[in-house]
């Protein structure tokens, strides 16, 4: 992703003959080398693009389409002849009867809102501080980056040591590990989602910081100088000069955060397997496979909900991105 399209080398130094001007003015000569290709070259190229495409499409897109198909069927998974087409029944059941579905949707929304409201501004704030060319900047950066490097599953185990009702850090510190005044961070349905979200935010802030740091590095230094000459203070400079130039980064951050919120799974699974209070769409789908009840059509219907929301974000974003790149 071009987080900083303004400084892309293609835009800065267009290779002569392949710039947009050449493309539009002389349509007879193809931009690429198509006219020079032998038949063998074409075959090689076909294979080079074809084989990876077949693998990707078969395992990702065909299965996504199969999810859509199965959402309109019931199937116990044993033999193809037990597939029965039931129309919209799975969805009807999902929206009206399933007691876990709407809480899961709600939790996914909370997840997104929490990530965008707390760790994202925090990441931006840290990035701005670290961008001030200070000593030990690398050391601080590393400390904030570290959770991004570690597996979500491992993060789940580490935070359990913090939240454990009997032996955990928090309860031990505040004396809530005695019988009688027990705070069950993992088991209490009013608390557990927030407890997990703190762990998720801990990781997300580091990730956002990296993205914003990259964005800040591409801000033209002369903008800052001009702003300083005009007598703007640090906050004014940030608000009216720096932040507006971070627009491309902000778009990326928004898309990344929505997708993270839809993908959220590992942490919750390690914590309490998505039991009461922490249901998520991803967890409901997975429980249909690794749980005892294998209701394939039903699980697929949830997957389709997830697919539709994801595509509603992914497609406009990619179209906008690719259009911008074509113009560059």
């Amino acid at each position: 992703m071009t987080t900083t399209p303004t400084t892309s080398p293609e835009a800065a130094t267009p290779p002569p003959g392949s710039g947009p001007a050449a493309e539009t003015t002389d349509k007879k000569v193809p931009r690429g080398h198509r006219r020079l290709l032998t038949r063998r070259d074409r075959l090689t190229l076909g294979l080079m693009a074809g084989l990876p495409t077949i693998l990707h499409v078969a395992l990702v897109w065909v299965t996504a389409l199969a999810s859509i198909a199965l959402a309109f069927a019931t199937w116990d998974g044993i033999g193809f002849d037990s597939i029965k087409w039931v129309g919209l029944q799975n969805f009807r059941e999902l929206f009206t009867i399933n007691p876990q579905f709407w809480p899961a949707v709600q939790h996914n929304i909370i997840w997104f809102a929490a990530l965008i409201l707390i760790p994202t501004p925090l990441g931006l704030f840290l990035a701005v501080q670290l961008d001030k060319q200070i000593r030990f900047s690398r050391v601080y950066q590393t400390a904030f980056f570290l959770p991004v490097v570690v597996s979500m599953a491992v993060i789940g185990f580490v935070w359990q040591l913090v939240y454990n009702p009997d032996t955990g850090l928090i309860n031990s510190l505040i004396g809530a590990n005695q019988p009688g005044h027990y705070i069950d961070w993992i088991g209490d349905p009013d608390l557990n989602l927030w407890a997990i979200l703190i762990a998720a935010s801990w990781r997300h802030a580091g990730y956002m910081m990296i993205l914003y740091l990259a964005g800040l590095k591409s801000v033209d230094p002369s903008l800052r100088e001009a702003s300083a000459l005009d007598g703007a203070n640090e906050w004014q400079t940030f608000k009216s000069v720096i932040f507006p130039t971070l627009r491309p980064t902000n778009t990326v951050v928004l898309v990344v955060t929505i997708i993270e919120a839809l993908r959220a799974f590992d942490l919750v699974f390690v914590f309490n397997k998505g039991a009461e209070g922490t249901e998520l769409l991803s967890i409901l789908v997975t429980n249909n496979i690794i749980g005892e009840s294998s209701r394939i059509g039903y699980g697929s219907a949830i997957a389709v909900v997830l697919l539709v929301i994801s595509l509603a974000v992914i497609i406009p974003y990619l179209i906008a991105t690719f259009r911008k790149e074509r113009q560059a």
Binding site: P5, P9, G32, M48, V60, W202, R263
Partner: protein
């Protein structure tokens, strides 16, 4: 790709240091405090892991240590047969990283160096596929893996519960991201470079293998770092597509360990930290590649 060059140049450049002013000292105090607080959960896990279980159960977890040692680490390592699971992870991660880079660089070469009509669409398909949540495709994938018989290669005789199955899904999924990044990178290489070689009669394969690929080394290095960390850290695919405990990679094996030893949090803490060590080593050794990779891949969820 632009940001790669930007970040490495910016972090590598000598910094002009301003003299210490009170505001600076305050900033340092804040950052040092915040960094320490940030590491607190990991440090807490380390502290717990260094203490024997008996001591913590007598004195409580928040207490001064009588003795600190690595017994929990050695126990976690030997009792849970971690070497075995590390090897399982390697068997999946090494081929998956290499294959992903190989396949996605070919796609990137195709879409960035030639102007076929399908290029943009092809790239969209790859990139969008990588952004989907894994759960969208898991149910049919799971069924598909159970259907495909590959006798002799895997213990299960199927794609399900095999390292091969994991490699394939990692490659299929991650190649979307890599194809996108590499195609951007390749597009920034001058066109005459390959045009001249083509006029001289070089084959397309030679163009790719001897001219374009060597020039992509920086991007490939960044992607390789990122991919190894992502694939090593994978929890979900292995959780669903592997059923035998023996075949599990390290992260899902840790899940089993914690179920088995849930009464001894210190041991679980040691196991979790041991699991994280390889990623930390990769990160510290290749920090610059990792960070530049992440900003290359800002669209990655």
């Amino acid at each position: 790709m632009s940001t790669l060059a930007d970040t490495t140049a910016a972090t590598g450049a000598p910094k002009t240091r301003t003299p210490l002013r009170p505001a600076r000292i305050l900033l340092h105090l804040f950052l040092a405090g915040a960094a320490l607080a940030w590491l607190a959960p990991l440090l807490w896990a380390l502290y717990a892991a260094l203490r024997p279980y008996g001591e913590t159960s007598d004195k409580g977890y928040v207490s001064w240590p009588d003795k600190l040692n690595f017994d929990n680490f050695t126990n976690a390592f030997t009792q849970s047969d971690m070497t075995h699971y590390f090897v399982n992870t390697l068997i999946v991660a090494v081929p998956a990283v290499l294959l992903t880079l190989f396949l996605s660089s070919m796609v990137a070469f195709y879409v960035s160096r030639f102007d076929f009509r399908v290029n943009l669409f092809l790239l969209l398909v790859f990139t969008a596929g990588n952004l989907l949540p894994q759960q969208v495709i898991i149910t049919p994938l799971y069924r598909l893996y159970l259907l495909i018989d590959i006798p002799g290669i895997t213990m299960s005789g199927k794609l399900y519960d095999s390292a091969l199955g994991l490699v394939l899904i990692h490659v299929a999924f991650q190649s979307g991201f890599c194809a996108f990044v590499l195609s951007n990178y390749m597009r920034s290489l001058p066109h005459e470079l390959t045009e001249a070689a083509l006029v001289d009669g070089a084959s397309v394969w030679r163009l790719y293998w001897q001219i374009v690929l060597p020039l992509c080394k920086p991007a490939m290095a960044a992607l390789a770092t990122l991919l190894s960390i992502w694939i090593y850290n994978d929890f979900f695919w292995a959780l669903v597509l592997i059923s035998t405990g023996e075949n599990m990679p390290i992260t899902s094996a840790l899940n089993n360990l914690s179920g088995q030893y849930f009464t001894d949090p210190n041991l679980v803490a040691a196991g979790a930290l041991l699991t994280a060590i390889p990623t930390l080593i990769v990160y510290f050794a290749l920090q610059r590649q990792f960070v530049s990779g992440l900003t290359l891949g800002a669209n990655k969820g």
